[in-house]
């Protein structure tokens, strides 16, 4: 007996040591449960992070657009309505009013990392007989690369855009049969056209984006899309992509522009993530419940087996609170020991998975992120579950009438 160890701790650990096989079995059981939780959580977090990272490669978390134009019916006075049917206005490409001021307003907001203006509109890419519909994006190079990781996605050539340069996607390059240094003609519905040199080819890992997006300098796009001096939208990068909707609302309030977050524009994707999170939570809950029931059943048996000893402890002056703590400590320890074992198992599963789950080219199927806090949360959670699971048997033990307990 260590002189610095309280009575309840001494008794709790002796009880567990005495029932070593029971204790080991339940610790292994809890360990397997925690291992599954750690493994699945790391796997799903990695999967989500991967999808989000890939999506945010070519899409800004927030986009500022000019407000939609609305038709205003003529009225004789405030109450009279002259037209019975009001047709919505067609939305032609429209610049953001005083975009420099809007940009400064957005940049001043906390959580905003970078803002970049773009001019974006439809056009055609022509080369020889090939004619492809594209989305022209004029960019301010310095700021654009702070928001969209285009520079990292260049697979051939470079990204220093001049007035007569263009960067195209790998799929479009194949469709047009264009290579670095080749000329591509870009035209728009208004009749404007320009011939540009391919200086870079990018690959975002998304066929649609690689096929449709082309990048030119801001001024070239302004001329092509008839927005001289103006910009069609602004892209905003934020600290936390999951806070994008809240920040978008703040920008909307500040600038009076139309502001869309990626959370709103990718609603289906977030629904899928939410469903995934829910299923993960359900699995955690049921695994936790199974572990809790295991711990509780072991302790219930222990209380029944030791009722005589509990009775004599109570008769000797052990308080109800001491008996309660004695069993809570056992539950907490089983949870904690199980979580340590489970964390080690989960880590081992992840290492094996990382080695096994690979694409055909040998690259990892998806990045598995092993975060230390996951293990800390698992340990704290399992200990708490152990204590909660021990609550019912502990209360039962503490309420045992010493007379009944001794009488058996």
């Amino acid at each position: 007996m260590n002189r610095f160890t309280p009575f309840e701790w001494i008794a709790a650990f002796r009880f567990m040591r005495e029932g070593m096989m029971q204790t080991l079995l339940i610790v292994v059981g809890v360990g397997l449960g925690v291992g599954v939780i750690v493994f699945m959580s790391a796997l799903l977090s990695g999967l989500q992070a991967n999808i989000i990272r890939r999506t945010l490669n070519y899409q800004a978390p927030i986009e500022i657009l000019p407000p939609d134009r609305v038709a205003r019916p003529l009225r004789a006075d405030d109450t009279a309505q002259i037209a019975s049917l009001v047709q919505p206005r067609s939305q032609r490409l429209w610049p953001i009013d005083q975009w420099q001021k809007v940009r400064a307003q957005a940049e001043r907001l906390p959580d905003v990392v970078a803002v970049t203006p773009i001019v974006s509109g439809p056009g055609f890419a022509l080369r020889g007989d090939a004619n492809k519909s594209v989305t022209i994006t004029g960019i301010e190079q310095e700021s654009y690369f702070n928001v969209i990781a285009l520079a990292e996605k260049i697979v051939a050539g470079h990204y220093n855009l001049g007035p007569s340069d263009i960067i195209i996607g790998i799929e479009l390059a194949a469709d047009l049969g264009a290579n670095l240094g080749d000329k591509v003609r870009i035209s728009t519905a208004s009749g404007a056209s320009v011939t540009l040199s391919v200086i870079g080819i990018f690959d975002f890992g998304n066929k649609g984006v690689n096929e449709r997006n082309i990048y030119v300098s801001l001024r070239t796009a302004q001329n092509l899309l008839d927005l001289v001096g103006g910009v069609s939208s602004m892209l905003v990068k934020v600290q936390d992509p999951f806070a994008a909707e809240t920040i978008a609302q703040a920008i909307r309030a500040e600038t009076a522009q139309q502001v869309d977050s990626w959370i709103k524009t990718n609603a289906q994707f977030f629904t899928a993530i939410a469903a995934q999170k829910l299923s993960n939570t359900l699995i955690r809950f049921f695994v936790g419940l199974t572990a809790a029931l295991g711990i509780a059943s072991v302790l219930v048996v222990s209380v029944v087996q030791k009722s005589g000893e509990i009775g004599i402890l109570r008769a000797m002056g052990t308080s109800r609170e001491q008996v309660l703590r004695l069993f809570l400590i056992q539950g907490g320890f089983m949870g904690l020991a199980g979580s340590v074992l489970g964390s080690a198992l989960g880590f081992a599963f992840l290492m094996v998975w990382r080695g096994v789950a690979r694409n055909a080219d040998g690259t990892p199927m998806f990045i598995v992120v092993i975060e230390p806090q996951l293990f800390i949360i698992a340990a704290a959670g399992a200990t708490l579950v152990g204590i909660l699971a021990a609550m019912a048997p502990a209360v039962r033990a503490s309420r045992l009438d010493p007379v009944d307990a001794i009488r058996g």
Binding site: R3, R14, G308, I312, G317, T318, P402
Partner: protein
């Protein structure tokens, strides 16, 4: 000093105890029990089975509350005490020895003897270890002090239980059939041990027994029949050895 020596360690006044209170069938087990034990008395509580001996012992030991009447332990009225105070008083002033030893098998003989002091103080210390070792020496179990409770004989286990009952230096030891599970030789050993402790420390003992041979070796015999004390007499012919 004389007053202190003659002071009542236990006073039982008008104690009634019933089971099934408020239910269809209420059974009164103790019908107004009155008696007192002085410091250093060594008394036997005898009577037929079902006569209320164990119930009386539980009430005196503050393990159960009577419906009416009062119990005074070392002059302290226990009626107004709450559960926590009763537990504290029980741990400090009363030692228990039961028919079954109820030693904790997870602990050694020495640790079992230390247990009441450990529960009371919260942490083990050298003083309680020393006291437990001395008691084990007194009951002749020093060589077995580091043996687990399950690794010693029945007689030795009951001796450990007696030592455990004494570690808090209680004023009163209540023993419910302490030799009921032992063979004659072991029973004599345990009984003599209690007698010797009583004589050397003046600890008051109240022993429930069915064994007339043991009862005859007590200073006083109280007979309980159907919840009433039918006789309470000093034992003029105390047999000192079985």
């Amino acid at each position: 000093m004389a007053d202190a020596a003659n002071a009542d360690i236990l006073r039982v006044e008008g104690v009634h105890k019933s089971y099934g209170v408020g239910r269809a069938v209420e059974l009164e087990v103790l019908h107004g029990i009155d008696f007192a034990l002085k410091r250093g008395e060594f008394a036997a509580l005898i009577g037929p089975s079902g006569g209320g001996k164990s119930t009386l012992l539980n009430v005196i030991g503050l393990l159960d509350r009577p419906q009416s009447g009062r119990i005074l332990i070392d002059g302290r009225d226990t009626r107004e005490l709450d559960d926590t105070a009763l537990t504290r008083l029980r741990g400090r002033a009363i030692g228990f020895v039961f028919q079954y030893h109820y030693l904790l098998p997870e602990f050694t003989a020495l640790e079992n003897v230390m247990m009441p002091a450990l529960a009371a103080r919260g942490w083990p210390d050298g003083e309680m270890r020393q006291a437990a070792a001395e008691l084990l020496d007194k009951v002749g179990l020093t060589p077995w002090r580091d043996h687990r409770a399950n690794d010693i004989s029945g007689g030795q286990q009951q001796r450990v239980a007696v030592a455990r009952a004494l570690v808090m230096q209680p004023v009163l030891v209540l023993a419910d059939e302490p030799t009921g599970n032992l063979d004659t030789k072991a029973a004599d050993g345990v009984f003599e041990l209690m007698r010797s402790v009583n004589e050397t420390t003046q600890t008051t003992f109240l022993i429930v027994t069915h064994d007339p041979r043991l009862a005859q070796r007590c200073d006083r015999i109280i007979e309980l029949v159907d919840g009433c004390i039918v006789s309470d007499r000093p034992n003029a012919n105390v047999v000192r050895r079985g």
